[in-house]
Amino acid sequence: MVSVRSEQFQFSGRNLLSGILFGLGLIAFFDEVVFHQLLRWHHFYDRSTTDIGLISDGLFHAFSWFATIGGLFMFADLRRRQALWMKRWLGGVFLGAGTFQLYDGIVQHKIMRIHQIRYVDHVIVYDIVWNVGAAMMIGIGVYLVYKTRRHRKEEVAQ
């Protein structure tokens, strides 16, 4: 068993939070740069939007912009405290990224219909890849978070 330092246990929550924030920011940035700006599959304002969609997009964009930077500063803080728990942090990254992508794929694309991934026939294929990808990221995230939590329990028991 890999030994875990007491600092890592102490800042277990901050490791997870930092990872989630960075994951959210990373995937939102990736979505915006790759799909909005490089591929131009969909845009920041597709005319069919609703007011709620506009507001939720704006809030999310501002939050993800902050989360990327804030998450990395928390990462630096954990490092200088020698409390960085890479496995748990990565778990947070996958969890954050996956959750956003699933929210985007289900709520924004399908329920609010703000924009679709791409304006082609059989968009369902893209939807499946998008949402299954999201679910896989959440799965990896949950697994890593679960693993690092079990270590904690064992350590407490000893």
């Binding site: 920041f44 506009l54 704006g58 964009h61 939050f63 912009w65 902050f66 804030g70 200088r80 405290r81």
Partner: protein, 278 residues
């Protein structure tokens, strides 16, 4: 489309920015530059140095503000919404940020004679100052002002009345400056608000800026052609992001320094490491 552009050009062609508003708007900034430099000269005489980078930031900030209020950008901003938005970015976001980073209050406090400096501190500690530097108040002044300007008839009215033009431009700068200093503390701030509070309000304010820029993209202010509003809206969106990232970075950096574990500080001191203080 042709009709829209015709109305647009005839509307804006008549009302060009005259000399008077340009002079009135530029004057305070020129005075601010002279004031700052004078403070440095007096400081030097008292054998107190002032960092070159702060002077550079102040000068650049003044230049950005001047670019927005006099010269070709200011003159053409009436007929060209994209240039108007460039002016907004310079006057309301970039100039306030650069000038806030130049720590003018710190410079003033160290230059003034002690009794006068005490009076300044008293003002800084006063109740109204506590309200003005509340991030919520500053955000409402800043973002609220922009929403009113671009979604009501205030925008076309600004081009009709010179006094309104001057008033709005001052408001944009002052609200931008207030917003910046309410989020990041470079100068002494007697009533500090917690990082989390500032962070949450900042996210909401940035969201409102992003939403407004998309709203403008789809709903041009009256008298603005659709294509012009789209370019202007995108400039506002991405330009806003570029400035916001600096404000967020500095806010987080200050948190990072303040959250420094005490034990680490002790170790660094005992090993003779240089510790950078904010």
């Amino acid at each position: 489309m042709i009709i829209v552009q015709h109305i647009h050009s005839s509307h804006s062609g008549v009302h060009e920015t005259g000399m008077l508003p340009q002079v009135l708007l530029a004057l305070p900034f020129l005075l601010a530059l002279i004031f700052y430099i004078s403070c440095i000269v007096i400081s030097k005489r008292n054998e107190r140095s002032w960092p070159v980078h702060r002077t550079t930031l102040w000068t650049l900030g003044i230049l950005c503000a001047l670019t927005a209020v006099i010269g070709p950008v200011a003159v053409q901003a009436h007929g060209n919404f994209t240039l108007h938005m460039l002016g907004h970015l310079l006057l309301g976001m970039i100039a306030p940020l650069l000038m806030a980073l130049a720590a003018p209050v710190t410079l003033m406090l160290r230059t003034l004679p002690v009794p006068a400096a005490r009076n300044v501190t008293k003002v800084l500690k006063s109740k109204p100052m506590h309200l003005f530097t509340n991030p919520v108040f500053a955000s409402i002044m800043n973002m609220g002002g922009l929403w009113v300007l671009y979604t009501t008839n205030l925008f076309p009215a600004m081009h009709e009345h010179t006094w309104l033009h001057i008033l709005i431009h001052f408001h944009v700068f002052l609200a931008g400056y207030l917003f910046t200093i309410s989020m990041i503390y470079i100068d002494p701030m007697p009533h500090g608000y917690p990082y989390l509070y500032r962070g949450v309000v900042l996210v909401l304010a940035l969201a409102s800026h992003g939403i407004l820029s998309k709203y403008i993209y789809a709903n041009p202010p009256s008298g603005v052609a659709s294509a012009d509003a789209q370019t202007g809206g995108m400039l506002m969106y991405y330009g806003g992001d570029a400035v916001d990232i600096i404000i967020i970075f500095i806010l987080c950096l200050h948190w990072y320094r303040s959250a420094r574990p005490k034990i680490l500080e002790f170790e660094k001191k005992s090993t003779g490491w240089k510790i950078d203080t904010p």
